[in-house]
């Protein structure tokens, strides 16, 4: 059996080794992320069926918890790990041809570290370890946002860094308060000791942790950095940030709220926060003229929707939330990758400059359109079953509150459809008629794009492929006692 710790260690070791490889040959450096992520993808897919029955617990250093750091490779962890490896692999293939300027070697190191951080966060079972991996994720994101070194990139990186660093300090403070009260850092052990959040010394760490992690998860009102950072990073990085980084942040928030604190009374608050984030994200996206900013705001909206679904806290709701998370990751990564080469060709991020793209770059535009349709929730793409599941889960609660919130969610979807329609219209139906020469994206970009398209269509037609796995993720998140027993025994 493969040890899940390799999912973290192999990308990290390769990241350390990149400078050595760079001394041998500059050309092989860019293939290292592909190798690492291929390994991660194969290992995670192999582990997936096993962990669905029984989570794998790894004790680092051979001590027993809570005295060591443990990894919990449960359904959620491995599902995320598959998603990270899959999206990471496709984006790294795309980056082979896309990243041509700047310190290329350093880009690939940072990329590997970002993947390491993200995988570490989803697998670890120790709150402080989570913080450390979270920092790897954040610091590599700050540097990658500034990678192009232009005015916008540096400025957004500064903003991102200041807000992120403040958030990190809050997380550390929250961890300190938890350690002071319970004398342990193991998440399962903490969960076993925390019975309610009524006591203020439990409530404050919860608030600090949710606030700190919420900065990375882009929950309103902590998301001021996101539109700038996602729009001024290189497009391959925007895809990873939108597709992986904020989802991992959301995972951390959800893990803290559900597993460590078991805070069911806190969920109503998150429910409203989710809908608020959704509405604000979609409404801001509506008024954008910059295509990448529009996608960035749309990511905020989608994060709100996922948070809403997860906070319903029924098995249906949680599965629907994770389904929507997968669907958003695939679609948004596809969109950023597709738009990357369009911007590369036109040199501008204005929506008006995309006019006539349908003829100039037909394949990229096709992939782009499918991504947009899926994000809006059109059948037969993956966005349709996932949104349907959320609405069904919310209505099954049979409370007036949820009905009202569902109406708001539907309004947000309509707004989303409206602004995306504007982009589609620009691509296909506007622009001068004069036939310019076709100049598509290179093959190293089209292959990942069409793998994403394939996944979106196939899962959209057979949602069972994914939903089978989602039930056990929901039960892992909702059955706190099983999680505690699994680790502490």
């Amino acid at each position: 059996m493969v040890n899940p710790v390799l999912l973290i260690v192999v990308p990290l070791a390769l990241a350390f080794a990149v400078p050595l490889f760079g001394l041998i040959s500059k050309k092989i450096v860019k293939f290292l992320p592909v190798v690492a992520l291929l390994f991660n993808l194969i290992v995670s897919v192999m582990l997936l069926p096993k962990v669905m029955e029984q989570p794998i617990h790894v004790f680092i250093g051979g001590f027993s918890p809570p005295f060591c750091i443990n990894l919990v490779a449960g359904p959620i962890g491995i599902l995320f790990s598959v998603l990270i490896a899959l999206v990471g692999l496709l984006v790294s293939v795309y980056a082979l041809g896309y990243i041509k300027e700047g310190a290329i070697e350093k880009y690939h190191i940072l990329y590997l570290l970002l993947i390491t951080g993200a995988t570490g966060v989803v697998l670890t079972g120790d709150i402080f370890n989570l913080f450390v991996f979270f920092e790897i994720l954040c610091i590599s994101s700050y540097s990658l946002v500034a990678y192009l070194g232009n005015k916008a990139g540096i400025e957004s990186a500064v903003k991102y860094l200041l807000q992120g660093a403040l958030g990190s300090s809050l997380i550390l403070l929250g961890i300190g308060l938890l350690y002071a009260k319970y004398g342990t850092l193991n998440m399962a052990d903490l969960a076993g000791n925390i019975h309610s959040i009524k006591s203020f010394s439990n409530f404050l760490p919860l608030v600090l942790l949710v606030t700190g992690l919420g900065v990375e998860a882009a929950i309103f009102p902590l998301n001021a950095w996101l539109p700038d950072a996602h729009s001024s990073a290189p497009s391959s990085i925007s895809a990873i940030l939108s597709g992986i980084a904020i989802e991992v942040g959301l995972y951390a928030v959800v893990r803290v709220v559900f597993t460590i604190f078991g805070a069911s009374s806190f969920l109503v608050f998150l429910l409203f926060l989710g809908v608020l984030t959704l509405l604000i994200g979609e409404m801001s996206a509506f008024s954008q003229n910059n295509i990448k900013r529009m996608f960035a705001y749309s990511s905020i909206g989608q994060i709100g929707l996922i948070l809403f679904a997860l906070s319903i806290a029924t098995p249906d709701g949680v599965s629907a939330g994770f389904f929507q998370l997968i669907s958003h990751t695939l679609a948004k990564a596809l969109l950023f990758l597709a738009v990357g080469y369009m911007i590369y060709r036109t040199g501008s991020m204005d929506i008006s400059s995309l006019e006539g793209m349908g003829k100039k770059m037909p394949y990229t535009s096709l992939a782009f359109t499918i991504g947009v349709l899926s994000l809006v929730g059109m059948p037969p793409f993956i966005g349709f079953p996932s949104k349907l599941m959320i609405i069904r889960a919310a209505l099954l609660k049979q409370e007036t509150l949820f009905t009202v919130l569902v109406v708001l969610v539907l309004i947000a979807t309509v707004i989303e459809g409206a602004y995306f329609f504007r982009v589609i219209q620009a691509i296909y139906f506007r622009g001068e008629k004069s036939e310019k020469k076709r100049e598509g994206a290179p093959l190293s970009a089209l292959i990942p794009l069409f793998i994403f398209v394939g996944l979106i269509v196939v899962i959209g037609v057979y949602p069972k492929l994914v939903t089978n796995f989602l039930d056990s993720t929901a039960s892992e998140l909702l059955n706190r006692l099983d999680y505690i027993k699994g680790v502490i025994g």
Binding site: F128, V132, E135, I139, Y142, S143, A146, G149, K151, A152, I154, E155, S156, A157, V158, K159, L161, L162, A165, L166, S168, S169, L172, L173, I175, G176, Y179, A180, L185, A224, D228, S232
Partner: protein
């Protein structure tokens, strides 16, 4: 008086924390904001060290003369602070690097004047 002696380290730690937070919220100059961030971090580290303290405790290091565990402070917060400091240094270095580049682009470090992207 008893209150002070009991909570003096916490007061110090959170005092630093609030000074740092106040600087971050109100100052315009990026370098000052980064300094505020560092002060805030220091406050958090002091708090972490303070929670591990045992009255009259010594460093958790054995030697030929010290072989009893009786009066040793908790080693875990010290390990956490070590990690925390390294992370703080990393963020600080990156922030300063970005500040240098930002100055190169704009010729100023005043955050109210740097508004290419909407805040």
């Amino acid at each position: 008086m008893n209150f002070l002696s009991q909570y003096i380290y916490y007061i110090g730690a959170f005092g630093l924390f609030f000074i740092g937070l106040y600087i971050m919220l109100t100052k315009k100059n990026l370098i000052k904001v980064i300094i505020g961030l560092d002060i805030l971090d220091t406050g958090v580290f002091l708090f972490l060290i303070a929670i591990g303290y045992t009255s009259g405790g010594t460093a958790p290091i054995f030697s030929k003369s010290v072989t009893e565990t009786g009066k040793m402070v908790d080693p875990v917060p010290q390990a956490l602070v070590l990690t925390g400091i390294v992370i703080g240094v990393s963020v600080l270095a990156l922030a300063l690097a970005l500040a240098i580049r930002l100055y190169g682009h704009y010729g100023t470090l005043n955050l109210r004047k740097i508004k290419e992207q909407r805040w």
